[in-house]
Amino acid sequence: ATYLAPLDSPDPPCKARRLYINFREVGWHNWIIAPRGFMANYCQGHCFFPTATKISSLNHAVMQSLMHSVAPATTPPPCCVPVKLSPISVLFYDNSDNVVLRHYEDMVVDECGCR
């Protein structure tokens, strides 16, 4: 299930937005035993100067946001991307009725930043 987070200002700063993936809605609930779904989240928002200086941004991203603020036509703003992610594990039945536990790295966005 997803819904676009209400944008709280004309240029919302880059941050993690809620996104819950429901296995039932994608029809996998019959063979995925657990979890029923998980909070994957996503990144949305702007990396404009000077806000970008307050978000977990690389120095380069701060420089790029500064360049964008003084010459927007020449330099695009940095991108709002995941910078801290968490793993999840999924328990499911495979084609041979085996019960399988699979571990996936980098599946949940914990934190966003400008890059």
């Binding site: 019959n30 035993i33 657990a34 536990l101």
Partner: protein, 238 residues
């Protein structure tokens, strides 16, 4: 029903493939529930719920490591004995039980490295009835056996012999430590024969041995590591 191209692509990326038939009804083994609950989310959840800023965070479980089993891995499979429904063979001589065990390992992907293959033998309630005496178990390969041919027709390579004091608790055997399985790169299946010899008291009631044969639940816990899923995104040196 039919999958959308997007769903198919996502499943393929995650290495998931929905079972072709109706949803399986097989119960989930407690060991798999335990491993799932001890997975990364559990650690994360526990950390956030119980730990305020002043509480020390729980150490994150090692990525690509199955902590409870103490081996590297990111895929754990619980495989049931494919021959469970086959009746035990007539046990010859003083053998109490002679049982073929068959595990289908065709799911193994060449990319995956075997890090644990643990055989579990669980005799259930009849196991509690069996006298607590030294039972001698032996496991051997039955490769190359044609289905339906009596076991004793086949030369068997004995993998291990072990004396166990009781059949009351599940018995575990580390198959990788036994050698050849670990060396063969991609075994498609694992065919074994379990023989059981009663200890001191050899005049066991025949019915008990038959019950043991029927109640035996044999399963494999197979842990593999797909190294490609564990590569941290290495940053190129500038």
């Amino acid at each position: 029903g039919t999958l959308s191209p997007q769903a198919s692509a996502l499943l393929q990326t995650l290495g998931l493939s929905p079972p072709p038939g109706p949803p399986p009804t097989r119960p989930v083994p407690s060991v798999m529930w335990r491993l799932f609950r001890r997975g990364p989310e559990a650690a994360e959840t526990q950390g956030s719920e119980s730990a305020g800023p002043e509480m020390p965070q729980e150490p994150q479980p090692l990525p690509c490591h199955v902590e409870e089993l103490g081996v590297p891995g990111n895929i754990v499979r619980h495989v049931l004995d494919g021959g469970a429904s086959a009746p035990p063979e007539p046990a010859l001589g003083s053998l109490c039980l002679e049982k073929p065990l068959f595990f289908n390992l065709s799911f193994l992907d060449p990319k995956e490295q075997l890090t644990l293959v643990r055989l579990e033998l669980n005799f259930g309630a009849p196991g509690n009835l069996a006298p607590a005496q030294d039972w001698e178990l032996s496991l051997s390969y039955a490769q190359g056996r044609l289905w339906g041919q009596p076991l004793y027709w086949h030369h068997r390579e004995v993998l291990l012999r072990r004396t166990v004091p009781t059949l009351h608790d599940p018995l575990y055997f580390d198959m990788l430590a036994l050698g050849r399985l670990g060396n063969s790169t991609f075994p498609q299946n694992l065919s074994l024969v379990l023989e059981m010899l009663p200890g001191r008291d050899s005049d066991l009631p025949r019915g008990l041995c038959t019950k043991l044969g029927h109640s035996l639940e044999a399963s494999l816990l197979v842990v593999t590591l797909d190294p490609q899923l564990c590569q941290p995104t290495s940053r190129k040196r500038r």
